[in-house]
């Protein structure tokens, strides 16, 4: 693409993270700022913006998942059956 695209990230309220909001086509950071201020802030919807030239962004999208590394994920733990057994032993199992 020949036109310089600037990605706009906005922070909606103090304490919130920056979120990707969209993009503007601008020749430099000053124009990008002047234009993003209005496109993403004229109705008071942002307290801060980050403007980043699109080609400064490194896109990362895939991970290897060849071996079953369940222990690293929440779905790798199934405690229901054992918890039930433990409660029954302790006499603390509730009705049903």
């Amino acid at each position: 693409m020949s036109q310089p695209v600037w990605e706009v990230f906005r922070k909606e309220r103090r304490g919130q993270p920056f979120e990707h909001a969209g993009s503007v086509v601008a020749p430099d950071a000053d124009f990008a700022e002047a234009w993003a201020r209005e496109q993403y802030g004229r109705r008071g919807e942002s307290v801060a913006l980050w403007l980043v030239p699109r080609d400064a962004i490194r896109d990362v999208e895939d991970w290897a998942d060849e071996f079953d590394l369940k222990y690293r994920r929440v779905d790798g733990y199934s405690i229901k059956a054992r918890l039930k057994e433990a409660r029954e032993r302790a006499g603390t199992a509730g009705p049903g």
Binding site: A21, V24, V25, E61
Partner: protein, 302 residues
């Protein structure tokens, strides 16, 4: 967890989007889907941009400072929407310059309502209240678009459109509680805009024959949208003492609205570039596009 595999086979892709799957700019998509997406989204962008022209005359004529500000802000939003939308089209592969060139050359379409004249301040109210209401119904049906970048901008667009309806309703209410002449202005504008409003959501092609629905670009059929509009807005119109200019309009016991069949031939005639104001507005846009080319050359040429 493995990344979601976007199906390469067109039929499997159809199933994928049908069950709510979304795609991003970098995902592989069928050519037919890409082409339809560009055409649909481009028409939306064109409509936002052309919609500015009937309204901007009235910015200059606004009868109070508050109305001037509110109307300017509304129209500013429409331009902002065009910017958001053309960016999406550009990332899909069609440059903005090409979209604008096709628009002014009459090669691309925009919604019927923006081919008609505005005649009075009554039109200002009716457009902001009812045309924007019809638009917001269509736009809400795009919030879950299978093409995620478009779905995301729809969120901002819908949020901003909600201000427009408030403004429109306020303009209307001031007039219907004003002088008898002002009330008449609203009724007369409604009489002229009802036809285009009824055509706005398109002819009642069944959902499962509508590619836009099948590809889950939109999540609502044309007739469904129209019924939703009537359900929401006919009561609002009538409670102000205004008359909807369709003697056959009525809500059946089963909840379905009956109405005089819109002139679908007229709709087709208008959107293919033969509306009362089409030529004039495209010429106006072309004039400024050409006149200010030097600015884009000076600023954007790196």
């Amino acid at each position: 967890m493995a990344a979601v595999e976007i199906p390469r086979d067109e039929q499997a892709f159809l199933e994928y989007v049908k069950s709510g799957g979304q795609v991003e700019t970098t995902d592989p998509i069928p050519e037919d889907y890409r082409a339809k997406l560009i055409k649909f989204i481009e028409m939306h962008g064109n409509s936002e941009l052309m919609g500015v022209l009937p309204e901007r005359e009235w910015i200059l004529r606004a009868p109070t400072l508050q109305r001037k500000l509110a109307l300017t802000a509304k129209v500013q939003d429409e331009v902002g929407h065009a910017q958001l939308i053309y960016r999406v089209v550009e990332d899909l592969g069609k440059p903005r310059e090409q979209c604008l060139a096709d628009l002014v050359d009459g090669k691309a379409k925009f919604h019927n309502v923006f081919h008609y004249p505005t005649k009075t301040w009554g039109d200002v109210g009716v457009i902001a209240w009812l045309v924007d209401a019809a638009a917001i119904i269509s736009q809400k049906a795009l919030l879950k678009c299978s093409y995620a970048p478009y779905a995301r901008i729809m969120k901002k667009i819908c949020w901003e459109e909600s201000f427009h309806i408030l403004h429109g309703r306020d303009v209307i209410l001031a007039m219907v509680t004003g002088t008898p002449e002002q009330f008449e202005l609203v009724q007369e504008a409604l009489d002229r805009w009802w036809g285009p409003l009824m055509q706005f959501h398109g002819n009642p092609i069944p959902k499962d024959e509508d590619p836009m629905y099948l590809w889950r670009i939109k999540s609502q059929g044309n007739e469904e949208a129209r019924q939703q509009f009537l359900d929401g807005y006919v009561p609002q119109i009538r409670e102000l003492g205004l008359t909807v200019p369709d003697p056959r309009l009525r809500k059946r016991d089963d909840g379905v609205w009956e109405y005089t069949e819109p002139d679908w031939a007229e709709l087709k005639h208008v959107v293919t570039g033969h509306g009362p104001k089409t030529e004039e507005r495209l010429a106006f846009r072309r004039r400024f596009l050409e006149q200010e080319q030097w600015v884009r050359d000076a600023v954007l040429a790196a």
